[in-house]
Amino acid sequence: MRKGYVLERILYTVFIFFIVITLNFFIPRIGVEDPAERYYPPQGNLTDTEYSIIKQLTRKQYGFDVSGWQQYLRYLSQLSRGDLGTSLQAGSPKVSTLIAQRLPWTLVLSLSNMLISVTLGLLLGTSAAWNRGKFADRALMNASTVMTALPAFFLALVFSLYMGFEWGWFPAYTEPDMVASFDWSWRAIAQVARNAALPVISMSIGGVISYAQGTRNSVIAVSQEDFITTARAKGMSTRTVKYRHVLRNAMLPIVTSLGMSVSGLIGGSVVIEQIFNWNGMGTLFLTANNTNDYPLMMGIMLFLSSFALLANLVTDLLYSLLDPRVSAGGGRR
């Protein structure tokens, strides 16, 4: 019953969304007596009575003058207007503005990563599968075990050191004017490509190996299926068998795994962004952490969770489209 399944998934997602919002509201308040405490300015030369007035004004300014419940309701209504909060940075920019500024840059990295991982991974994986047992296949196996043991950020540092600092092939740190002077010209695009090279290479090596491994297994599994043997027996050329039948079926899990990794698109590159000083969501979050900018931190958390929820929902629905068994059984478990 497709419709029932879709409805169930959507309702379920909404339910979890509310839990996430509530958690998001309460986490910074755990164990803290006076949450406005960290916003009070120093007393300076003011008398005590004057200072208590200042404290009242501060509490009012940040919304701590009402009860916890009311604060929560206010938070909900604020969210319903799409207002994720106001950052404590100078000038009080809105959290949503900051996220909107940084998000595209993170996507540049993660989408490039995904693109390269999938394409190269597919190519390498299929070639390993066709040459099963031979050099290409064994090389892939070994690379796989080595790569999973090497953290991506370590690779990033090594690349930064050699390709960036020592040999100067790419900028070791993001050029400071990359974001500001971006104007969709070829020059600007080339600059972004040049700066994104090292981060993307560091991230995608692991991804390439992963997808290659998965493709290899998938292709091997499918080629052992009965219908392939039938096709061969019918006298189809190897090439037709390979491409028309095997690959097409082997793509299925790849596609769905792509969907699963969508939720990691935004939050997954924090460390890499920090290493290369890339102007994305990761560095925004780290900055917020360093400056104790709670509204910004919680706003980003909420955004990431919502995005993950949405991505999961869409993936689930797509998956159920592709594999009808799933909607009958009740989920990708």
Partner: protein, 324 residues
């Protein structure tokens, strides 16, 4: 009885497996280094009076040179770093094994109520972005490895529980369980005396592979500065190298050394885990369930998908179909 005999031969079985042997030797060396650190290091990196000139290149007596920011001997720091990695990795691996087994068995065998509850919990946990949450929690409650272990355990049991649950579902329909039920054994009795031993292989394998995955994740968190600031760990060494100017000065040794440390420890435990997997179930494909577990710790869900197309009877998805 069956299981104890198997455990007695476990080490021997790993040893005889060629790759398992490599893993055991490496792991043994690392454990030795971690435990014997105060005695085998040439300098004490915690002792401020043993600092040398800052930013020395590798040579004698500083085999890997000294750090630019503090003048500590990098080789000694490398050995001390093993302590944190191994401790966090192994303890968390064990904790996840316990929690995951408990939740998985409860979900698989404890009845529909528990199953639904636990699976819903799993869904919520999967959505929350772990890294940002870790950052927020360490911000609020202080930075320590205890906090890191706690957070890893809270998020790490999810993958294992799902796998265990699937295995339990398979076991549920096996004959000897049905016989026990007919004989009138209580639910709890069956869970402990029959189900648990049935998944014990899985647990042992998972501890090894999970530990490996945790070590990588811990390195990442230490790199971001979320671990105990007074302890020496490989991730923190990498962070110090970066902020202390190793890149600017070109001191590659300060960067490569901790990286190799991380690599060796993860590699060792992965080898042990994979060897165990092949030992317990020689028919299984190389990159089976457990590599998926391992990757799910690392946050990449790719491998999880492949079981969907594995219609073989020994895997969990088929078992799910048979569930009532």
């Amino acid at each position: 009885m069956r299981t104890t005999r198997r455990k007695n031969n476990l080490l021997a079985m790993i040893w005889h497996h060629p790759q398992g042997q490599v893993g055991l030797i490496l792991a043994g060396l690392l454990v030795f280094a971690a435990v014997a650190a105060p005695w085998i290091t040439p300098f004490d990196p915690y002792d401020v009076t043993q600092r040398a000139e800052k930013g020395l290149a590798p040579g004698w007596p500083h085999l890997l040179g000294t750090s630019i920011s503090t003048g500590q001997d990098i080789f000694s720091m490398l050995i001390y770093g093993a302590r944190v990695s191994l401790l966090v990795g192994i303890v968390t691996g064990l904790a996840i094994a316990f929690l995951g087994a408990f939740m998985g068995i409860l979900a698989g065998y404890g009845g529909r109520f528990w199953d639904t509850l636990i699976m819903r919990l799993v869904d919520v946990m999967l959505v929350i972005p772990t890294l940002p949450l870790t950052i927020v929690l360490t911000n609020l409650f202080g930075k320590s490895y205890g906090m890191i272990i706690f957070i890893f355990t809270i998020f790490g049991w999810v993958g294992l529980a799902r796998v265990i649950r699937s295995q339990v579902l398979v076991l549920k329909s096996s004959n000897y369980i049905k016989a026990a039920q007919l004989a009138g054994a209580s639910r709890r009795y069956i869970m402990f005396r029959h189900i648990l031993p049935g998944v014990s292989n899985l647990l042992i394998m998972s501890t090894a592979l999970t530990s490996a995955g945790i070590m990588v994740a811990e390195a990442g968190l230490s790199f971001l500065g979320l671990g105990d600031p007074t302890a020496i760990s490989w991730g923190k060494m990498l962070a110090e190298a970066q902020s202390g100017g190793a890149l600017l000065f070109g001191h590659w040794w300060w960067i490569i050394a901790p990286g190799i440390g991380i690599f060796l420890s993860v590699f060792a435990f992965m080898r042990i885990g994979l060897a165990l997997e092949e030992v317990f179930n020689p028919r299984m494909k190389r990159s089976g369930m457990l590599l998926r577990l391992f990757k799910s710790i690392n946050g990449s869900y790719i491998q999880e998908v492949f079981d969907a197309m594995d219609d073989r009877p020994e895997t969990d998805e088929a078992g799910k179909e048979a569930a009532p």
